[in-house]
Amino acid sequence: MLLPLFAALVAASTAVLIFAGGLVTSTGSGLSVPDWPSTYGWFMWAFPVSKMVGGIFYEHAHRLIASTVGFLIVVLAIWLGRAEPRRWVRRLGYLALAAVVTQGILGGITVLWYLPDAISIAHASLAQIVFCLTVTIALATSTGWKSGYIADPQGPRRIDDSVEAGLRSAKREGRHARLNTAPNDRTLQRVAIVTTAVIFVQILIGATMRHTGAGLAIPDFPLAFGDLIPPHWDSKIAIHFAHRVGAATVAVFIIATAGHVFAHHARRAELRRPAILLLVLLALQITLGALTVLSGKQFIINSLHVVNGALVLVTSLVLTLRAHRARFADTGSADAGSAQRDPVRGAGSRTRDDQGRSWTRRGARA
């Protein structure tokens, strides 16, 4: 019970870290501490608070928060390694650990090498991947996920089309109808994956724009130099315009995904909620993006745009993963007889208990 809570805490702290990182770039403080891993020669944690002046406040605070998150991820990886029955979740823990260590090193060398664009962009992008990993771990360890989002037979509100279809076919085949409310909706799965990928690409474009100083290359919004299409071009205007076209593309995909959820799975709360959230965050993100431009990159607005962008990404990721829930081997889904419906994991190699847990045989499989 504690592990899911801790995993959620780690995910939340990663979001805080991304905000802190956004502040460093937005205030232009990246090089205010010239050395790394020390701070002006001090051991990081011994650097006096009274000396955290000017840009050092943001840069040093970012390092402290990052080390804390790094430490939390170490604990999480160890904890998962010892207590988590599912191998893929344990592996996600190790992967998150490797990613956050790499992230720290990228952050360090970008300082020592005076913020070369390529490394800074890689640092910004890997940050999003670390966040995706911690969110995925938090999701995979959550009770909802582990239960396979099983419908409450008494709760008809949660039954939707595909479930009803499943119920009917179960009845026909005379099976005991334990509901799997996370069936494979291929359309949803595909559109959700593409949406997540498009958002990630949009974030890469955003990072490139940010680190090449193209954030104000187009000074007006929603038009570009008073036109729909910029009347003149250079590389900065192009990357900036690409981010705006990207935003429109992201909007289309998010609306498509959410629309599909509302149309076909409106009663599946585990899909409906992230779909609603996604629309809200999208509106917020576009507003923050516009305000970033119109305020001339006010640093708090700018940083909120960065962190909210990350939230858009992970919300879409959560929706995607939940849409794929039925494909995970240990789904608590379905009736006991449907083990062979696990297309992804070698279902035959495991035994399950009533809740669909397969960990009893973990030792044997290892």
Binding site: S32, G54, Y114
Partner: protein, 259 residues
């Protein structure tokens, strides 16, 4: 800022930074401070001392000096209240300060030895003094932190090697030399984002920075035809060509307009 990823300098910088004494590419030594470095030394082959003198003026309404928000560092707040941006300092009468005037072209293959006395760049009251300065390739630059706060000295060089060195303690000094000419090389303190200095690194001694009266003089030039450039951080550059005979002094005026 778009910067090219230069693998060699990255590796060198990394090594230097690991040693935590990095000042990339330059040599770091201790040396005693000496007078103003902006005064050009005698040319190696000054046959008949010719001079170019002049004044840089500004026409139009000068922009109001923008106040700087110092609250992010209490030390600066107390040490230098009312500090304003030094971008365009125009005296009554239109004289403009902090213009770097130098011989851009015309010296041919002449070579000049670098003076041994250092040029001093001071960080005092969370401000660089001087704001604009010239130095010769190979001439030592002594960088001093006179403030009771932390500064990082970030030389954002393109032709020379970039460096970023911390001076967390009052009274700290470092000496840096530049290996190739670069006009202008910006200095920045990233702790105090408003702190900028501009350094003109040249391979000859014919440069000057205009003072409050807007005047400059380039002394001891050999006779010849020269391209003289006047550089200002926000107003841009202007060039003029002058021909001077041996022992002559020519007057050159530069006029910048409000943009």
């Amino acid at each position: 800022m778009i910067r090219r990823l230069d693998v060699r300098s990255l590796v060198a910088a990394f090594g230097a930074a690991v040693a935590l004494t990095s000042c990339g590419g330059g040599t770091t030594q201790t040396s005693a401070p000496a007078g103003s470095g902006a005064a050009p030394t005698a040319a190696a082959d000054s046959a008949g001392a010719s001079n170019v003198t002049g004044k840089v003026t500004f026409t139009g309404t000068p922009p109001k000096a923008a106040p700087i928000k110092l609250s992010s560092d209490p030390f600066c707040q107390n040490a230098n209240p009312g500090l304003t941006a030094e971008t365009e300092i125009v005296a009554p009468g239109g004289a403009i300060q902090n213009v770097f005037v130098y011989v851009k072209d015309g010296l041919g293959n002449r070579t000049f030895t670098a003076p041994a006395e250092p040029v001093v760049l001071d960080q005092k009251g969370c401000q660089y003094t001087p704001h604009v300065l010239g130095i010769q390739v190979g001439q030592p630059m002594q960088i001093v932190n006179s403030d009771d706060t932390l500064h990082n000295v970030h030389g954002m060089a393109k032709a020379n090697k970039e460096f970023n060195t911390g001076q967390p303690i009052q009274g700290m000094k470092m000496t840096h030399t530049f290996s190739t000419k670069e006009v202008m090389l910006p200095f920045k303190c990233d702790v105090h984002g408003w702190m900028h200095a501009w350094v003109g690194v040249l391979d000859h001694p014919y440069y000057a920075v205009t003072g409050p009266d807007g005047t400059f003089s380039l002394k001891g030039l050999p006779a010849g035809t020269y391209t003289i450039e006047a550089w200002h951080e926000t107003l841009g550059t202007q060039t003029q060509t002058v021909t001077i005979g041996a022992g002559e002094t020519r007057d050159v005026a530069f006029a910048f307009k409000a943009s």
